[in-house]
Symmetry: C2
Subunit: 378 residues, 2 copies
């Protein structure tokens, strides 16, 4: 039972779709499949922009998003309040971009005012792009993309490039309504399919920048993906079986509906957080910036790694640990993608048993399950 922020649980019908024998990718059948999934990806992204599909991890999509629309020496503003924000700065510098970082402590959201100040100070419009992570998987923090984006729009020149890897399919990322130029995501998250596919939506202002962008690229050059995508084909051999999985998963998502998907994630986030509070386990990060995908917990009188170990060995529930300096200090409960309300109760119940087993007595037995249950059935 995967309660980690990816790979997330995969529905049986998606697994079975993936087990079909591959088809040739230069066939009419494959083109029909690609047309369908592309249309459904646009639905999920709430956009008419191109949504391109890469054989890569989410990092590959995000790198593609950065390197296709910028040039050597370009100045970019990078939001960094966790491992992924930090990574986008590294990518930008690896390609010779000049980065200015807006930082916040891990566990805290980026402050939109910091972006406002930096963008207003840029009177000669030298900032070419603002790059940030929407839901910071490493800490369970949701950054205020809508407000930050409004400041980018007020600047008027900079593109906005968003890592929506753990927010797409979990909370609203209305690409067209907000005018998001580049949005990257990955298959093993809200999409409910195994890792191996990544997605990047690209708007007209980004494509205009593409024309003069000069960073070197080939496999991640999005131009050919766009050109071939218009004919429902791909520049390189696509992971055909993962496309089968994507087709099945997007059909499920459409059936559930965007509003219902977002409401489910919101409900499970609130239930999980209420349970942790009832167990007197300190949440790492505040309620008003809590990710819909993952809840980070920083236990005080019990060891985070011991909790993870017992949960895994005795209840076959995989929780995520902390990364970098948070290693051993936090554990993270994923509630992203194919997670039902029962799964939340299962995880909380198993956590209660684990805590008791480890000698942690800072809660009334049943308090966590009760708190979660009340929210789930509210």
């Amino acid at each position: 039972m995967l309660m980690i922020p990816g790979p997330t649980p995969v529905p049986e019908q998606v697994l079975l779709a993936m087990a079909k024998h591959p088809m040739g990718h230069r066939s009419g059948e494959f083109s029909a499949l690609m047309a369908e999934v592309t249309e459904n990806l646009k639905w999920l992204h709430q956009t008419q922009n191109d949504v391109l599909i890469l054989a890569a991890s989410g990092t590959g999509a995000m790198e593609a998003g950065i390197i296709n629309f910028l040039s050597q020496g370009d100045r970019v503003l990078v939001g960094n309040n966790g491992k992924f924000g930090e990574r986008w700065g590294k990518v930008a510098r690896a390609y010779g971009l000049e980065t200015q970082e807006i930082t916040a402590e891990w566990g805290k959201p980026l402050n939109p005012d910091d972006f406002k100040a930096a963008l207003e100070a840029d009177t000669d419009k030298s900032i070419k792009a603002v790059i940030l992570t929407h839901s910071e998987t490493s800490t369970g923090v949701l950054n205020d993309l809508e407000t930050i984006n409004a400041h980018v729009k007020a600047h008027g020149q900079a593109l906005i490039m968003v890592d929506a890897v753990t927010s797409m399919g979990a909370c609203p990322v209305p690409v067209d309504a907000w005018g998001l130029d580049v949005v990257a995501s990955g298959s093993q998250k809200g999409y409910m399919i195994p890792p191996g596919l990544a997605f990047v939506s690209v708007g007209p202002r980004a494509w205009a920048a593409y024309e003069t962008a000069n960073l070197p690229k080939f496999y991640l050059d999005l131009g050919p993906y766009r050109k071939d995508g218009a004919k429902n084909t791909t520049p390189f051999t696509p992971p055909v079986n993962l496309f089968f999985a994507l087709q099945a998963a997007l059909q499920m998502m459409k059936k559930e509906g965007l509003e219902a998907i977002f409401a489910r994630h919101d409900r499970q986030r609130r239930a999980t957080r209420a349970a942790m509070a009832a167990l007197n386990l300190p949440l790492f990060g505040a309620d008003d910036s809590a990710s819909p995908a993952i809840t980070a917990v920083m236990p005080q009188q019990v060891d985070a790694e011991q909790v993870r170990s017992v949960m895994k060995k005795r209840f076959d529930i995989a929780l995520a640990g902390g990364q970098d300096h948070l290693k051993g200090k936090i554990f993270r409960i994923g509630h992203l993608g194919f997670v039902c309300d029962r799964d939340i109760l299962s995880a909380v119940a198993a956590l209660e048993a684990t805590l008791t087993h480890l000698g942690y007595d800072q809660f009334t037995p049943g308090a966590g399950v009760n708190a979660a249950g009340q929210i789930l059935l509210a």
Copy 2:
């Protein structure tokens, strides 16, 4: 029934392995799996070099092979006698390398003497790498890698970088015996698994060059893959389910044995070519440079696309067409990966029926099946 050069047929047990629920990739179970497949990849490559696994198409692996070990302005010698050789020149130029191309007409092998001459002329050792495709999928030509490599070794400085996408697992590519510095391949070929994984083996001379190489890279930076690979983990989320498939397929390959795999491909190549000759269908390319993976045919009194269309519609056998200027002029029969001798007879029998149906009468009915059968059972 896929008789194309990729995706190739996938065994049922590999499909079922792929349909397992994903596991967390930061788990001991995944590390054990990665240790096993890495060991088996080394067996297949006949090497002690690192063999790294990427979430990408074969092009991604080949690009990684090129950009990790070279620097801006480096001079490289690129073999180009088909679509893939042509592509590596494009990749090299996209990254600002200075390319000198050794060309041969499509359908003809690269002439090793051309490499010898160019390398001998390079008295100041300015050529940093020789880049070529072993089995040129677009034309069904196998280049004489062993002889070309000997000339590279005589040069003494240049690295050799090989696209073995349709030769790995089909004919010998003895990486250590030949001293091949960089070898790239892809999952949907001899590996018998669906597309989405790519492999690159890297030897010590290439790693030495890595230290000073300055081309920009992040997702395809092989350094982190090596570092994390040593701990049986990955820098980015791996396509877990394709790893399950890889594990099952490599176990099958080990059971069959390298010599038996190579003998099977050789036998099927010869049987296919004998059948085409018996049907008076001109082979595109000579016997002594025939790919073990694919046979290209240039029919004269019957239309190649009509042949493909009837084969697909009436017998559910997918053949590949020609690419670029060969489009409509050739068809290509794949015999790569999970192909048994019966499949060759099925394809030849269906081709005979198709040819007769299309009014082509330049053969004695049964001649193709007879010729193939004699070789298969010799």
